[in-house]
Symmetry: C2
Subunit: 328 residues, 2 copies
C-alpha cells in the first residue's frame, strides 16, 4: 500500500529504510490490543537506514549517514520532561513512530516500509562499528532494557533476575552482565538454558521447579520482567527479592496487573517500577555502552516483503531472539 509521508519541515530527517526489527508492540498494535488502532497503520519502530535528506536545522545528521530511530519520533520539546532530557516521558504532545499523529495531523508511519520521515531529535547515528541490521533492535528492545537497569543502579554486586528469554530478555542478560552483575535467567522450562549461558547468564532457573526458585529466596537486588501472562505468580517472584530491591516491569500486558501481594511489597520494601523505552540521551549512552561491551542482538532476517510471514513467526514464538526485516 502507498501511504504519504508526513510533511517535511526544517527539523525533519528522511531515511531510506534498510532494516526494521519486529517488536511485541507491533503485534499488540496490529491487534488493537492497547486500544483501537488508527488504521491504516504501518508498524515497526526499530528502524535503521540511510539518511536521504535533512531539514535546514539538522546539524548532527547529514545525507548518507547510517541512522536509526526507535519507538518515539516526536515530543513537545517544551514540557519539563523534554527540557530535562526525558523526552520519552513528555507530558505534552508525544508522537509515536506508528499509530500516532504529528502535531499537524499527519499520520506517523513505522518501519515495515521503504521510507521514513521524522524529527531530528529522535534520529541517531549508528556507531561505525555496528551494521544497520545489528543496530536496528537496539532502538526499542535494547533501550527498553538498558534504561531501567542503568537507572536503578545495576552494578558489580547486583544480582539481576531476567524473567523471560526473548527479544527483551536476551538484551537484559547482556546488559546486566556487562554492568557487572550476577545474572540469573528465569524461564518456564529448560529449553533456553544453553542460549542463556551463551548470552552470559551465570545461572538459570526453571521456574516450573519450585526447588530451583526457593534456593534464590530473598537474594535478587533487581528482577526485570520481560514476559508476563495473566497467570503471573507475583508472590513467587517477590519472595526471590532482596530488601530494598527493584522489580522492573518492561512487559506491557494488555490487561492490568493483578494479584500483587501488598504484604511482601512492604516487608521487603520492594519498588515495583515501570519504564518507558529511553530518552534520546539514554539511547546515545546505550549505543556507546554496547559498542564498548560488545553487546549484540541475536537476529534472524526476513526480506521486508515477507513481513507477514515474519510477523507470523513472531507470533509463533520462533525468534531467537529478534527478527529483523531487510529491504533489498
Amino acid at each position: 500500500m502507498e501511504l504519504p509521508l508526513r510533511a517535511p519541515d526544517d527539523d525533519t530527517v528522511d531515511m531510506k529504510i534498510t532494516h526494521c526489527g519486529i517488536c511485541g508492540s507491533d503485534i499488540h498494535t496490529q491487534d488493537s490490543g492497547w486500544g483501537e488502532t488508527d488504521y491504516p497503520c504501518v508498524t515497526g519502530h526499530e528502524i535503521t537506514g540511510i539518511c536521504t535528506a535533512v531539514g535546514k536545522n539538522v546539524k548532527h545528521i547529514k545525507v548518507g549517514d547510517r541512522i536509526g530511530v526507535g519507538a518515539q519520533s516526536g515530543s513537545c520539546l517544551e514540557c519539563k520532561e523534554c527540557l530535562n532530557g526525558e523526552e520519552n516521558l513528555c507530558q505534552g504532545r508525544k508522537t509515536g513512530t506508528y499509530n500516532s499523529r504529528w502535531p499537524n495531523g499527519d499520520k506517523a508511519f513505522g518501519g515495515y516500509a521503504d521510507k521514513w520521515r521524522g524529527h531530528q531529535r529522535f534520529v541517531f547515528k549508528v556507531p561505525d562499528n555496528m551494521t544497520n541490521e545489528v543496530a536496528a533492535t537496539f532502538f526499542c528492545a535494547g533501550v527498553t532494557t538498558y534504561s531501567p537497569l542503568k537507572r536503578y543502579g545495576v552494578t558489580k554486586g547486583s544480582k539481576v533476575g531476567v524473567i523471560g528469554l526473548g527479544g527483551l530478555g536476551h538484551y537484559a542478560i547482556q546488559w546486566a552482565k556487562a554492568m557487572g552483575a550476577h545474572v540469573v535467567t528465569i524461564s518456564r522450562s529448560d529449553k533456553k538454558l544453553q542460549d542463556a549461558t551463551a548470552l552470559g547468564s551465570h545461572e538459570y532457573i526453571n521456574a516450573s521447579n519450585p526447588d530451583e526458585l526457593k534456593a534464590h529466596t530473598g537474594t535478587f537486588t533487581h528482577i526485570i520482567c520481560t514476559a508476563y501472562s495473566k497467570e503471573f505468580d507475583w508472590p513467587t517472584y517477590f519472595k526471590l527479592m532482596d530488601t530494598n530491591s527493584y522489580f522492573i516491569m518492561v512487559a506491557l500486558p494488555e490487561a492490568p496487573l493483578n494479584g500483587i501481594p501488598a504484604m511482601l511489597l512492604a516487608a521487603r520494601q520492594i519498588s515495583l517500577v515501570g519504564s518507558m523505552i529511553g530518552s534520546p540521551s539514554m539511547i546515545e549512552d546505550m549505543l556507546q555502552f554496547a559498542a564498548e561491551h560488545d553487546v549484540k542482538p541475536w537476529i534472524s532476517k526476513y526480506p521486508m516483503k515477507q513481513c507477514n510471514e515474519a510477523v507470523q513467526a513472531f507470533r509463533d514464538g520462533k525468534p531467537r531472539y529478534r527478527i529483523v526485516l531487510e529491504n533489498e
Copy 2:
C-alpha cells in the same frame, strides 16, 4: 486474662504500660485477616510506659524513664539488614510486638495490658517535651508514614497526595507539610475538609468528584495511600502522578492488589513502593523531627479496661484520628 511475660535476659526492658494506641493492624490480627492468629493474642503495638527493670546490657534506658515501643520487638541482629541499621527489614528471625514468638518460643504480647517486656534495641526514650499519651501512636502510625516520605525524598517543591484521612493519613499530612511539601488530602467525601486544613493540608480533593481529580493530573511527586479497598481505582490515581513519582502503599490490605495499569506505570515511570514501619534509627529520627516541628497526633482516650468498646469505635470509623488506651 493473666498471661506470662517472656523470660527476662540481659537485654530485656520491663515496662509498666501507661498508654497504647489502637492500630488497624490490631483489628486485622484480631480477625485473623493476615493469616490465622496465634491465639490467645494481646494486640497493641503503639505502647508507652515507665521502665521498671532493665537487663545488665541495657545502657540507654534506666528504671523510671518514660519509654515506648512500636510494632517490632526483636530481630536477629545478625543479618545484613540488621547490621545495616534496617532491623525492620530483618531477614532472619523477627519478633513482632504481638502474634509472634521470641526465639526461646515464648509468646510476644502487646500493649492492651498493664505490663510489657522486650528487647532493648526496640525500646525508645520518649522525648522530654512529649507526654506518653501523645507519644504512643508515633511508634507505629507515626513512623509508618514518616519513614517512606523521608526515604523517597519529600522536600520543598514536592507535591504530596495523602489518600485517606485516618490514623496514618493525619500523620502523613503533618509530616509532608513539615518536610516542606505542598500537601493535598484525597478523600471520598467532603466530610474531612476542615480537619485536613487544620492538620496543615494545603488543598483537598473530594475523590468522588472527577473534575476535582482531573485538575491535578500529572502533578504529584508522591502519593501515600493510607486507605485501600477492593474497589480502589488505580488508573484514577496513577493519572494524578508526575513522571518519576512514588506511589507509596502503606495500607496493608488483606487481599492482593488488583487492577494496576501497567501502561501508566511505564509511561510515567512510576515507582509503586511498599514500606515496613521503620527502623530503630528512623524512629529516633522521627521523634526528634516531631519534637522540632510540633507534629502531634489527634487522639481520643479510652480507659484500658474499655478496650473492647474502643476497638468497636475503631471498627465503626470513629477515631479522629487515633484512639489511645490509658491505664489508670
